[in-house]
Amino acid sequence: FELGVVAFQMSSETHARCANAVEARATELGWEAQILNSNGALQTHAEQLDNLIQKGVDGLVVCMSKPVEADGQFEAAKAAGIPVISVMSGSSPHTLFDIQVNEYGVGADAALYLLGMINFRGNLLVQRFEANAGTRIRGKILDSVLSENTAVQIVGEHSMARTQSWREDVRNGMQALILQQTGNFDGVWASFDGQAFVIDDLLLAAGMSKGDVPLISIDGGEEAFRRIKDENSMMTATVSIPFEEMGTAAVDAMQAIAVEGVEKETLVPGPYMFMNAVLVDASNVDEFLSE
């Protein structure tokens, strides 16, 4: 079984985690899996799908794809009899289904948790990322939660202007805000965990310790859990999105449908296979740590 895997942007860790899990599971099943990286470029993405269709792969898994832009490609895949399963992409009439966690719900969980930590009163530092759909949604949900809770204010916010050297960008921007707002913020929100790690280090360097201000973000993963557990980290909670599990589930579903001939409808009735995103904090972090 030849499986084509296209990740929209491998330099984005979540895309990579998902794609790598797909590859790992496929290899376990004895399949051939070929990962392609669209480098975050829409046209490249479409072209890579076209190329895989021309190659005649037996199935396609796409991670964080763009079903609207790649509509034509998915249609062509369907016409060529190639089943497509997407992860965190959105639905398309031409794919089998999309494996999703609800980004809107995830954003609401994180925002509410943060506000709860500061008792719905106080000042926030916010680190955004507007060039990516998922992180942008999380930011918008935060904003709408805040619009109902006017006792909480954003006193400093930074939005990543760089997409490759984003860690330095976050570090530089947040460092400036932390210095500017020293003693004047009660919580920190980051649009994804990678940002939170950088901010975590900054807060520590600023002499803070766990519990001084809550640091909340979204994505999950080993490093996030380690930090939540770690007494020397400021990281308070994350919403864990099971990227690996989604990747694995995509392959397993492909195996069921394309190899074993299971009806798609019996597996996933609607456009989505929803997976749970769990809020992880000190109380349940041990369940997630692998050691």
Partner: protein, 315 residues
């Protein structure tokens, strides 16, 4: 023509043919009609951008802004169409935006005398900023007029519109650059600006023209990309910057060695797209693609240089 001269002029082309033959043999499906048409469609975007870039390069100016200008044009077109402006008008505005960006580059370079590398680096950053300002990062998607989408997805007879547009662009660009007074004066300006000026050529105007054509081609590509993807997003042209430059530089090793030339840029684009298509069909992982692309580009230029016994070109 002796063997040396053939390799000097057609070495990279022959390397491309060799890659083609290799892929045709070893890459499953590569030589199928459908896939070759697929490759041709894919090359249209890159080659139009690369040809535009080449016009600026012919006048000895490096335009690093075309990719972000292309994104900006796409976003403008998307914004207008989503604001219920007729697609044809929106497309024309997109073209005008590209032309204006090129003219601004030209103004900065010839009147304010900002070196092209930094002028276009600056306008590139600005175009990127404006694209995000217009969109807030969100792509324009939604219902597009089928006539607009036809521009990139339609066929006239058996031939995709994309391929037709590309061929027309290629022919116009080749004739303009090699067979007209304007073209040879663009070249003279690039070869020795002072000599051209003293010979009575308005070198400023020629440079502005070269850069404007680069902007125009960014606008054309923006229309095609938007129609092809039925979406307009900031940075949607970004990936093409290095690829188009590579295509044009690869092209400088062909036909008229050491000089930027349209036909070379076209073949360069073809080689790059063919490679990335072929590597997918060969089952190569994504990181292998970058590595192989790097090697092939360097190797084909190195072969030309070895034959020339001097650098394949200087900039």
């Amino acid at each position: 023509m002796n063997a040396k001269q053939i390799i000097e002029k057609y070495g990279t082309l022959l390397a491309g043919v060799a890659v083609f033959i290799f892929l045709a043999i070893f890459a499953n499906n590569f030589a199928s009609g459908a896939n070759l048409l697929n490759v041709l469609k894919q090359v249209s975007f890159l080659s139009i951008l690369a040809m535009g870039f080449t016009f600026a390069l012919i006048t000895s100016e490096l335009d690093l802004s075309f990719a972000n200008v292309c994104s900006l044009c796409a976003v403008i077109i998307g914004f207008l169409i989503m604001s219920d402006v007729h697609w044809a008008l929106a497309s024309v505005v997109g073209l005008i935006a590209g032309v204006l960006a090129g003219m601004i580059n030209g103004f900065l370079i010839t009147v304010l005398k900002v070196p092209s590398l930094i002028a276009t680096l600056g306008t590139s950053a600005m175009a990127n900023g404006f694209a995000f300002m217009i969109t807030g990062g969100v792509a324009f998607v939604g219902r597009w007029d089928p006539n607009f989408l036809f521009l990139a997805r339609g066929k006239i007879g058996p031939i995709p519109v994309l391929v037709l547009v590309m061929l027309v662009a290629l022919i116009v660009a080749v004739v303009l650059s090699t067979q007209t007074k304007t073209g040879i004066q663009l070249q003279a300006t690039g070869e020795n600006e002072e000599a051209a000026r003293r010979a009575g050529i308005n070198t400023r105007r020629r440079k502005v023209l070269g850069l404007t054509i680069s902007g125009l081609s960014a606008g054309v590509t923006a229309i095609l990309l938007t129609a092809n993807l039925s979406s307009a997003a900031p940075q949607m042209g970004g990936d093409y910057m290095l690829l188009a430059i590579a295509a044009a530089l690869l092209g400088m090793t062909m036909f008229t060695p050491a000089k930027p030339n349209i036909l070379g840029s076209f073949v360069g684009s073809l080689i790059i797209v063919m490679l990335s298509n072929g590597l997918v069909l060969l089952g190569a992982q994504y990181y292998i693609q970058d590595i192989v692309l790097g090697i092939i580009i360097i190797a084909s230029v190195a072969i030309s240089a070895t034959v020339l016994k001097q650098a394949a070109f200087s900039l």
